[in-house]
């Protein structure tokens, strides 16, 4: 069970990377816990999570090969 994480904006800055793989993460809640443990500054960002390009407000189970995007507040336009 492997997922790909992609990070943008200040989240890419905090994590120091734009894309990486993780194994054995069952769901979004578990992923957030791991990320916030490894990168405590993430907790200061009001970020959203998208699974395979769809924003997920609730917890959700992660399927093998899914891509999880970490999205800081949008500021386009």
């Amino acid at each position: 069970m492997e997922i790909t994480i992609v990070a943008f904006g200040q989240l890419a800055e905090i994590t120091g990377k734009q894309s990486w793989k993780l194994q054995g993460i069952p769901d979004i809640t578990a992923l957030k816990q791991i990320l916030e443990t490894n990168f405590p500054a993430i907790k200061n960002i009001n970020y959203q999570v998208a699974i395979d390009k769809k924003i997920t407000k609730e917890n959700a189970v992660l399927a093998d090969q899914s891509t999880v995007a970490l999205l800081p507040p949008f500021s386009g336009g």
Partner: protein, 146 residues
């Protein structure tokens, strides 16, 4: 049916000549009576005593294009539009230059105007795009959402 996903991204500042070409492309569509255009321009704001020299835009492009496709369908189902064109910069746009170009056209003016207003709000709220405000000294802050 295949979705026709249009690219909205434009490398760097959107040039006024590109805008005028886009306008003149509509002269053969003689059922159009009104065009509404919104342009976003990069401001040289002062933040913590430092002046913004440019904004560097990045995006989660595949998601942004899918989302824009949805917004497009939503707007076309709500307003009687002849056409709608959206262009958003990626990469560095210096202060004073154009970073967003929204262009709607319709027979009667209310549709073009209201659709343009609404899609500008949706773009700012829903597209995964980020602006990094770069100061004259090369340091930066992340643009606050608007």
């Amino acid at each position: 049916m295949e979705k026709q996903i249009k690219n909205i991204f434009y490398a760097g500042a959107i040039q006024p000549d590109f805008i005028s070409k886009s306008i003149s492309n509509h002269s053969t569509k003689t059922d159009i009576g009104a065009h509404s255009i919104f342009l976003g321009q990069v401001r040289s704001d002062i933040i913590q005593d430092k002046k913004v020299a440019a904004i560097e835009y990045s995006s989660y492009e595949p998601m942004a294009l899918e989302k824009m496709h949805e917004l497009r369908e939503q707007i076309f189902s709500k307003y009687q539009l002849t056409c709608m064109h959206i262009h958003h910069s990626l990469g560095i746009v210096p202060a004073g230059e154009i970073c967003l170009f929204v262009f709607t056209s319709s027979k009667h003016r209310r549709d073009a105007i209201d659709a343009c207003n609404e899609v500008v709000e949706l773009i700012k709220k829903e597209l995964p795009v980020w602006g990094k405000e770069i100061f004259e000294d090369g340091k930066h802050v992340w643009k606050a959402s608007n």
